[in-house]
Chain length 514, copies 2
């Protein structure tokens, strides 16, 4: 990193207004850490009977964060600083700080505190209701919570404002500036290439050999294996922790110093835990890689959720489902499961992880069909928020879309509309995954051009060169730059779906001999 | 519970000032829950590298709690309400709420916010330093943190004020109104009876048979066993959780809905985990027993730390080290360890748990020598806070006191002055344990007089009648009443060490045939 780049990660604390703004944002960031910790606790260990107490606590916390974010002094500071930080003696970190403070101030002042608190109470209880509903395959018990969430999200959208459609206001929360019509443009080639490759695979009659995965893999051994894989990809357990939850996730209580992830286990399904560990590991190394100087600020995070997913999907798929990676890492798998994988080679294992088949569950989907799961959710979310469909109709719409896009039909709602945690808290996140696949493919292509011996190094079991490069060129900056600016810094151009189209076509043409 | 008693657990929410005060205290209580959750996390799972971030977060939180506790409007409300709630139409819960709000307002307004924040930063880092120092047997590395804590605690005492000695101000934090000279009076008979019985046991030459405990007890099986024992004593896992930490503790993030405990394990030492589970279980059923109407208020807690320890020590010792209890529960132990306890009877097991021998570690001490460990700490704390001894001299003073009181000498500081977590956060807590033994013996005596078939029911494996009685007559009230008032309600008289003297004398005369 050059001296200029390093300087750009520092705040100009000689400016008393920057110092004052930092104090505001440090406190807000600390409160956010408590909120995230309580969320982590709720998903990894909280007793069932604690829900009522926790809902009150979380509402109180969101109310306090809202109080801090709407502090008129914060608004004044931001206005004063916006012009000032454009001057060249200020740093990109200063500019990023002012940008994020402004954005959260503007958003927060559009929502009354009582609404923020009530939304949080509903979110906590809705999560509980979702866990039970999925467990009992009981959409009807979740439906009233979903209804309230939809109403709140519509109100949020209306208060935030939008140009083309109401759903755009929610998309903007996760990917600043994103609109549904832009998603249509970006996703069209993805949809087309997915359908085309799937059809070619199905028509080819070729199959990959997945018989090695039809076995029993004790959970304890899987946990050890995942720990080794995460260590091998550079996740630092000294600043992290791995736990178990119903829906895997990554969270931070102060990046880069405390970044934790969860996974889930099924002794009959080894890829489930491995691939979700690599996915969450991607999120986690991104957060662990941000510069320590950004601690306790909104910059100690990812540039957007799409950019965040670019790293989870890059590590899970571009790297974690490549033959070269498993040539390097398969010995770890064999050490964990010597009996199960005695006579298997890395190539067969890697190919088995790339078995393509339309399926019901998004998080288990192969790379070819994955984005179709996302497009289904995007279409449903947009219609739901824009008011074109009703909550009660979700199970049947879900089924018909799965039939249309993937030719499968969920036998239960638990395997259908209830499978994901996301809608217990809000709408607008799902497109981030496909955006992540697009950004990820661009970054993957860049990595391969920077390192002509990319595969050879992976085959030797080395992934640290990838992490180092990403850390220096991308992770260190956290949310200092806006997504498009960051992408330009990292790959030199704008978002372009053609990288993903080429990646998918080449990869699966190879594996399936198309 | 009578209608009057039930009414006394409700707040008079028809009074708008009570409602307003409740809103203040609800928020403060919620913030306290976040702080407790972060503490729980630090002791049960937080990665080592997160310390710096966590210290900032905890300081921010204490600063915000302080800000809320010193809110001038809170002060006004309390002044207005103090006279009002004396009227008979108000409830004991109202009076308790105003008392606690007043007490915390008075205390908080005596400390500047910056001091509270810095104390919290030091506390978090001091805990970390203690963990490392104990692990490495390195008192010198902990000493500077201890020094800062002593200085802070002296300043707190000076700001709070006191009549006889500075240490009194700290005692008052845990047991309102307690003074060192009162401790001297209460502890004198305890010290005497402990020394007397110990001498008589040693001179008798009698030994209890502990050979059954010299075995290996796999940690997983111990965990299952402790879970069963806790369930059997009425701890509700639906509103709780059991984890592992270096120093066992109980905490609450909203009593009675979320009360958790930890224990620790050594496969060579079964009593360690069993007795600490019963001890923490006693704290936990107390908190779980408080009336749901007290949720999110300072009344949803124990009446004082001495009263709290009365329940941990009652369940651990009065009940949990009695022969009758183990006649009822030993089958659970045998199911967990069928090989180890194949040919053992409950009486021999119970007696083994009552083996008396001067030892180095407080938490493992028998009931005869336990209070000598406390008296040592009390004497050291008092001298340290009053300025009569220096931090550097603690290891040698510790050794000489252990020699004097218990005729043992710690070979290392880890087994000596570094064994307890308490001094990483403050001083004045230790006397609560012996107070707890005194209160506990009185309550135990009351229980036996209420239930003439006390032993017979324990022998049948029933402990629920104890929990029900305590819940109705004591636990439900939480901190509604001051310790002395609560004790009078429960046992009908004031604190009196003679109950403990008689309990100890009778019990050990029996076991050791004195």
């Amino acid at each position: 990193m050059t001296a200029t780049e390093q300087k750009n990660l520092q705040f100009t604390s000689s400016d008393e207004h920057i110092r004052e703004l930092l104090t505001h944002m440090n406190i807000i960031s600390d409160l956010g850490a408590f909120s995230a910790l309580a969320d982590w606790d709720q998903q990894t260990g909280m007793p069932e009977g604690a829900g009522e107490a926790r809902a009150h606590q979380m509402a109180t916390m969101q109310g306090l964060i809202h109080e801090r974010l709407t502090n008129p002094r914060l608004g004044e500071l931001v206005l004063q600083l916006e012009e000032v930080v454009k001057q060249p003696e200020y740093t990109d970190a200063d500019r990023g700080l002012v940008y994020h403070a402004r954005r959260s101030y503007d958003q927060s002042t559009k929502l009354p505190r009582e609404m923020v608190e009530e939304m949080e109470r509903v979110r906590v209880k809705s999560f509980e209701a979702w866990v039970k509903a999925r467990h009992n395959n009981d959409f009807a018990s979740f439906s009233p919570w979903l209804q309230r969430t939809v109403e709140f999200q519509r109100e949020v959208a209306d208060r935030f404002g939008y140009q083309e459609c109401r759903y755009d206001a929610l998309l903007d929360l996760y990917e600043p500036g994103l609109t549904a019509s832009r998603v249509d443009v970006l996703f069209a080639p993805v949809r087309e290439v997915s359908a085309t490759i799937l059809k070619r695979i199905q028509e080819s009659g070729h199959k990959v050999d997945t018989s090695s995965l039809s076995n029993t893999f004790p959970v304890e051994k899987q946990q050890e294996l995942n720990k080794h894989l995460l260590e091998s990809m550079g996740y630092d357990f000294n600043r992290g922790q791995m736990a178990v939850s119903a829906h895997p996730f990554t969270t931070s209580f102060g990046s880069p110093l405390d970044v934790r992830l969860t996974t889930r286990y099924d002794e009959k399904n080894l890829p489930w835990s491995i691939m979700s560990s690599l996915h969450e590991g991607g999120h986690a190394v991104y957060e662990q890689g941000c510069a320590p100087s950004l601690l306790r600020t909104p910059l100690a995070s990812g540039a957007s959720m799409g950019v965040h997913e670019s790293q989870s999907r890059l590590w899970e798929n571009g790297i974690g489902r490549s033959e070269a990676f498993w040539r390097g890492q398969f010995p770890i798998v064999q050490r964990a499961f010597p009996e199960q994988f005695q006579n298997l080679d890395a190539k067969t294992f890697a190919h088995a992880l790339n078995h393509v088949e339309p399926s019901l569950i998004r998080t288990e989907a192969d790379e070819v069909t994955y984005n179709l799961h996302i497009i289904i959710r995007f279409e449903i979310e947009r219609a739901l928020i824009n008011g074109d469909i009703a909550v009660e109709s979700l199970p049947s719409i879900w089924s018909s879309k799965y039939k249309e896009y993937l030719s499968v039909e969920p036998p239960t709602d638990s395997l259908g509309v209830l499978q994901d945690v996301h809608w217990s808290s809000g709408f607008g996140y799902f497109p981030s995954y496909t955006l992540g696949n697009l950004y990820g493919a661009q970054i993957y292509s860049k990595l391969r051009s920077v390192f002509p011996d990319f595969d050879a190094r992976l085959e030797q079991g080395d992934t640290r060169f990838v992490l180092s490069w990403l850390q220096e060129n991308m992770y260190a900056y956290g949310a200092t730059y806006k997504p498009a600016d960051l992408l330009k810094r990292v790959v030199g151009e704008e978002a372009d779906p053609q990288y993903f189209v080429r990646y998918l076509t080449e990869k699966f043409s190879g594996i399936y001999n198309l």
